[in-house]
């Protein structure tokens, strides 16, 4: 019997569409405007006490709220109205003070049973919810230059200690040139440097009486340094973004030397940039001996436990600028440790300070330059006031076992996670390659909201026009195509939600475009059926042949479009990527709905019975 699907095929289609409905459903529950409380430090817990403190303040100010809860040590308070959100944020920050980061947030309202199924709404791009997008570039030239400077001072020390006389060492771009006056020194220096500085490629040249040894970093070594510089900046930026208390921030490497930062909901770019561009540093100091005078000492808390404190000498041995690398590793007994490399100058200073102080303890202080936000009452209004301040915490206090030099290690750490945390902090505070902003996009919240409304309106109107047209032109078959089109929209939304793809304004445009093009497959099939009937085929035969003949065409045409969409995804950035994603997913879902769903419906309506005339 033609034009009949076996039962399992109908069921399969039903199941796919039903799943589509379930996973698209969360998008119908609008997010609540909310405020999120995050403790500044892991040691602080958000408790019911804090929440009730906040709710009392909100009650007093007459701001409507609901659904306050604590989840993963984050407090969430939801609001009925958007305009309350900002007022509440200021109020809550004022109530709780500096221990908490208070951030604007959109809390999803997906029902529990949907969440249990792993369903959730699509993410909205910055252009739809407002926020800031930064692109930062790490200055690779400077990163290499800094490292080369460190190498130069090490080479100088080495050549001097081996009594190999040279005139000068100069650096031009990436090339280190050592000038010698005679062959013998040059040859000796060559073999010595080849052994000690394996990362360099050596070339000789002469200018008049002078002999030069040129050293260039091998490409691999240069790339490693660049990699290191980017990674270091990434870690630092991540830490700082966390400090901003933004919900769902994005910090990601892009290409060789760039870092993308996306902060949804942040409006105050100036503040965000101040914090991202802020600097951290390190100070290495000796612990004060018991007989030291009060004037020569300072007391600092530990970073992981504010209650624990130690008294340190005022004198600083070296700062983070001397640290060239810090890596967590394991010692010969498998215990965690952190290896630290210093530049020559730092090594010398470290050696001088430690050789007479063996058995004493040395501390590493983590220094952060921060900006504090005060809420001040002025002329009856609450104003945010920012004050820069410096925060110092001890991140390590360890006994000096022997005189330290260019590289040493900190042992006695409790766990690998502690050692990697310490290495991370050491790197965050050490000499980093300079970084600057190369792109910035700020989208105001009103524009975001406007964009959503415009997008939704155009999808609705576009859809309505197509539906009316199809119904008028193809009647019953048009109705079937419209059902398929709706299924297509549902499946597209479901797929995007499942992949947690980000919906952008061009993404919405992509959906609209897919709607227009999705009908294409149906139009192809229907024209083919009409044609077959004109050629004298019976209705059933025409349906059968129409679907079959059109399939090859649809397949070819869609595959090439998919090809283009994939290229678009590869070369595009941000919003354009969003467009490519919706376009490709739309092509895939429209193939399914236009061919399978339409066919199933046509089969149900016309299949397996005598039909004289098709309503097409």
């Amino acid at each position: 019997m033609i034009n009949k699907y076996p039962l399992w095929k109908y069921l399969l289609i039903l199941v796919v569409v039903a799943m589509g409905v379930v996973y698209a459903l969360p998008n119908l529950y609008p997010d609540d405007p909310a405020v999120q409380l995050t403790p500044q430090r892991g040691s602080v817990q958000v408790s019911e006490r804090h929440l009730s403190q906040v709710t009392r303040a909100l009650d007093k100010a007459g701001i409507e709220y609901f659904g306050e809860e604590i989840e993963n040590n984050n407090g969430i308070i939801r609001f009925k109205h958007d305009e309350d959100q900002l007022k509440a944020k200021t109020l809550i920050q004022g109530t709780l003070g500096q221990d908490f980061v208070v951030a604007l947030n959109l809390a999803p309202t997906t029902p529990q049973w949907l969440m249990d199924l792993g369903a959730g709404p699509m993410k909205l791009g910055l252009d739809l919810r407002g926020g800031v997008h930064f692109l930062m570039e790490v200055d690779m030239k400077e990163a290499l230059a800094q490292r080369n400077e460190v190498y130069i001072s090490e080479m100088k020390t080495l050549l001097r200690s081996e009594r190999l006389r040279y005139r000068r060492i100069t650096r031009d771009e990436g090339v280190i040139s050592i000038r010698f006056t005679n062959d013998e020194y040059l040859d000796k220096a060559k073999s010595l440097l080849r052994k000690e500085f394996v990362d360099f490629v050596q070339t000789e040249r002469s200018e008049g009486d002078d002999l030069f040894l040129d050293l260039t970093l091998s490409e691999q070594a240069a790339r490693d340094i660049e990699d290191y510089a980017v990674k270091q900046n990434l870690t630092t930026l991540r830490n700082r973004v966390n400090e901003l208390g933004v919900s769902e921030p994005l910090v990601q490497r892009q290409g060789r030397n760039r870092i993308v930062i996306e902060l949804p909901g942040v409006q105050d770019t100036a503040a965000a940039k101040r914090i991202l561009g802020a600097t951290a540093n390190l100070e290495f100091r000796l612990e004060a001996s018991s007989d030291a005078g009060v004037l020569d000492t300072e007391e600092y808390p530990f970073r992981d436990n504010e209650a624990r404190r130690a008294t340190l000498e005022r004198d600083i041995i070296i700062t983070g600028n001397s640290v060239s690398n810090a890596q967590s590793a394991f010692d010969e007994n498998g215990r965690p440790q952190v290896n630290i490399d210093l530049d020559t100058q730092g090594g010398k200073l470290m050696n001088r300070a430690t050789r007479n102080n063996i058995r004493r303890r040395m501390a590493v202080l983590f220094v952060e330059h921060k900006v504090k936000t005060h809420i001040v009452e002025a002329e009856g209004e609450r104003i945010e006031k920012r004050v820069p301040f410096v925060e110092k915490h001890i991140i390590s206090l360890a006994t000096i076992q022997s005189a330290l030099g260019n590289s040493f290690r900190i042992t006695g750490l409790d766990s690998p996670s502690e050692s990697s945390e310490l290495a991370l902090l050491l790197r965050a505070g050490s000499l980093a390659a300079p970084i600057y902003f190369v792109e910035e996009r700020t989208i105001g919240p009103s524009l975001g909201k406007e964009n959503i409304e415009l997008g939704v309106t155009s999808v609705q109107i576009g859809m309505a026009m197509v539906v009316i047209f199809m119904l008028a032109f193809y009647r019953v078959f048009g109705l079937i195509a419209n059902v398929a089109l709706t299924a297509n929209l549902v499946l597209l939304a479901a797929l995007m939600s499942l992949m947690s793809a980000t919906l952008t304004l061009p993404g919405i445009a992509g959906i609209v475009l897919t709607l227009g093009m999705a009908v294409d497959a149906n139009v192809l099939i229907f024209s083919r059926i009409k044609e077959e009937m004109q050629n004298g085929a019976s209705p059933q035969m025409a349906i059968h042949a129409g679907f079959e003949r059109a399939f090859v065409t649809i397949f070819d045409a869609n595959l090439t479009t998919l090809l283009v969409a994939v290229i678009l995804f590869a070369v595009g950035t941000g919003p354009v990527k969003g467009f490519a994603v919706t376009l490709s997913l739309g092509i895939i879902t429209s193939m399914f709905t236009a061919i399978m769903v339409t066919r199933a419906l046509v089969n149900i309506v016309y299949g397996g019975r005598q039909v004289k005339k098709l309503s097409i």
Partner: protein
């Protein structure tokens, strides 16, 4: 062929169509050479600030206020409505440029202003995006050519790529002549049109191939004509539904995707025309005939792929 109700002799006018296409392409190329594309911020780099007013401001006043405040090379224009203003600055990046512009505007007037968006793109980033965009377009054309050559035949592949290049050049030409901003979203539209127009061209090519194999009589010109007539209904209906949604985007999608919608509208119109005339024209010019398509492949093969 008596069973085909309406039969238009498309190919009789193919010389005229060819002439029009060549003229349009030449005009576009000339405009691209003389006027060039007005590249948007994404590709040139620079700073852009969009602000929203409560009452319509006087643009010239704004311009002079901004110039007095020390901004150089300022362009001020309406964006969508007379309440929304777009300010472009050639000046480099400063962290507070958005607020600076706001302050400058507010300093000398009683306007109530709101910052809607501020964008800065570094010159180097712009250059890279430009290179990537161009590369993406070429890559898309190249891959399409390979795919069509593989699925159909080389002559078809040349024909469809010619049609695509024709569409892209005319779209770019339109943006150049009208001096509309060409930014990343418009580039996305151009690539989408490549996909769309290709879709159209392939549907027609598919039918031409089928008819070459099925109809044993008739000159290539006849066969192309028959195929075009058979697919005409579908081509027009699909273009119409796509145009309907694009019109929705154009009128209701807002200012940010206005140019995107214009590019797609133009692209779909040109793409529809090119799938009828350009691709088929090139095929005939390349002297396509039955031999080219007498592949051993059987029509019946696809029967089992059917879902």
């Amino acid at each position: 062929m008596s069973r085909i109700n309406r039969s238009i002799d498309f190919m009789a006018k193919r010389k005229i169509a060819g002439f029009i296409s060549v003229a349009l392409v030449l005009l576009s190329l000339a405009s691209l050479a003389v006027n060039q594309l007005k590249l948007g911020l994404d590709f040139t780099g620079g700073t852009l600030v969009e602000v929203s007013f409560q009452q319509p401001p006087v643009l010239n006043d704004l311009r002079s206020e901004l110039e007095n405040a020390g901004f150089e090379d300022v362009t001020v224009q309406n964006f969508g409505s007379d309440l929304d203003i777009l300010v472009r600055l050639a000046q480099g990046f400063s962290p507070t440029v958005g607020n600076d512009v706001l302050a400058a505007i507010q300093s000398n007037s009683s306007y109530d202003v709101e910052l809607k968006r501020a964008e800065f793109v570094g010159a180097q980033v712009g250059e890279e995006l430009r290179d990537q965009g161009g590369l993406g377009m070429l890559l898309a054309l190249g891959l399409v050519m390979v795919y069509v050559a593989f699925r159909f035949q080389l002559k078809f592949s040349v024909a469809s790529v010619t049609a695509l290049a024709h569409d892209v050049i005319i779209m770019l030409g339109l943006f150049s002549i009208l001096q509309l901003d060409f930014d990343l979203t418009v580039l996305a539209a151009v690539l989408a049109v490549i996909g769309y127009s290709l879709n159209d061209t392939i549907v027609v090519s598919d039918r031409i191939r089928e008819n070459f194999r099925r109809l044993r009589t008739g000159t290539p010109e006849d066969i192309v004509n028959v195929s075009l007539n058979q697919t005409l209904g579908r081509t027009l209906i699909t273009s119409l539904t796509t145009l309907l949604v694009l019109l929705a985007l154009f009128f209701f999608g807002g200012e940010l995707i206005h140019n995107f919608a214009i590019a797609l509208l133009a692209g779909v119109l040109v793409g529809t025309y090119s799938s009828i005339y350009v691709a088929a024209n090139v095929l005939l010019a390349l002297k396509v005939d039955r031999e080219d398509l007498m592949a051993p492949e059987k029509e019946g093969e696809v029967e089992d792929d059917r879902p």
